[in-house]
Symmetry: C2
Subunit: 199 residues, 2 copies
């Protein structure tokens, strides 16, 4: 966060926290309403937030810096696996993919896909969001191996991609409109657990 730093004392009028909030919220709202990242203008954000442009520039160097702060808000909280059944924990984690506390996140996430590949900053932000989630899943898988529920010779990283991929392409890319998104987490986890080869 650039604004509202830990200023020890200030002579004049302090920065408005309400303005901080309003700017961030306006940014996320506009994104969720369909604006793409680059179509987003400081002027539109200022108007939407009921704020002068100068108030934004006083806090952030430009659109990129503002976006980085705004998107950080979408991280949300991590799902907490119960720790009893490996299968149930995986269903929980897989079901949480792309499902954020902030409903706007679902609509904003697809917009990040292009940005992630072009801006190192945004790539880092993106990774910082998903890597703790990956870690959570990794721990569940390792636990499953330790408990003997999962085979010991599986590639944990590949398995995570296996579990995450289907949910992500469905939620973010609408890969197959006919797929039942509701039931998908369970079905994915069970299919990955059991395999599809006849035996």
């Amino acid at each position: 966060m650039t604004s509202t730093a830990d200023a020890p004392r200030s002579p004049g009028r302090p920065r408005s926290i309400r303005a901080d909030e309003a700017i961030i919220e306006a940014t996320l709202d506009l994104l969720a309403e369909g604006s793409t990242i680059e179509a987003l203008s400081i002027e539109a954000i200022a108007t939407r937030a009921g704020v002068g442009k100068a108030t934004i520039y006083r806090r952030w160097a430009g659109k990129d810096a503002l976006l980085l702060d705004a998107l950080r808000r979408l991280k949300g909280v991590l799902a907490q696996p119960a720790g009893h059944s490996v299968r149930d924990d995986l269903v929980l984690l897989v079901g949480a993919i792309g499902k954020n506390v902030d409903p706007r996140a679902a609509k904003i996430m697809p917009c990040l896909a292009p940005a992630v590949n072009r801006s190192a900053d945004q790539f880092q932000l993106y990774q910082s969001i998903i890597s703790p989630r990956r870690q959570l899943m990794r721990e569940v898988l390792r636990r499953g191996i330790d408990e003997g529920v999962l085979r010991a010779d599986i590639d944990v990283e590949v398995t995570m991609a296996l579990l995450t991929g289907p949910m992500l392409i469905q939620r973010v890319l609408q890969w197959n409109p006919d797929l039942d998104e509701q039931a998908l987490p369970e079905r994915v986890v069970d299919a990955v657990l059991e395999g599809i080869r006849a035996r």
Copy 2:
């Protein structure tokens, strides 16, 4: 295709096919070079193609129509499974995901993710590109079931998502930078075939 329609005869000078080509190529080149869809301007395309702006507007109603035509060029050819081993055919199809004949496609595809969710036209285009590929995989899976190689009770659609998802998130979203993209198709197919549960 909007331009170079099947005009029976025309009094004056015919439209230049070279201009058609140049405009489409310039569009794809600019996209592949990192321009995002909306940052792409008709002016830039015209300049790059060595063409007047009017020549573009004479053929297409606007940027969207041009883009639709340009992106159709990226469809590429479908991978042809050999039809011997179900496992090998799946590896081939999974390996072909996100790998297009046109090397520009790989860089352009991530940009489509946001557009797909906002424009009905682009969503349709996107679906028209991937649905034949899905069909191909569907047939291989059905064949596997018929031959008794795959279990008869699997959900074919979910299985396709299972196979496609990991490749797609890796190639398009760079989901996990540490994952070996080269070996991924084989690993994904084998993991899905065998399952990860200990037995």
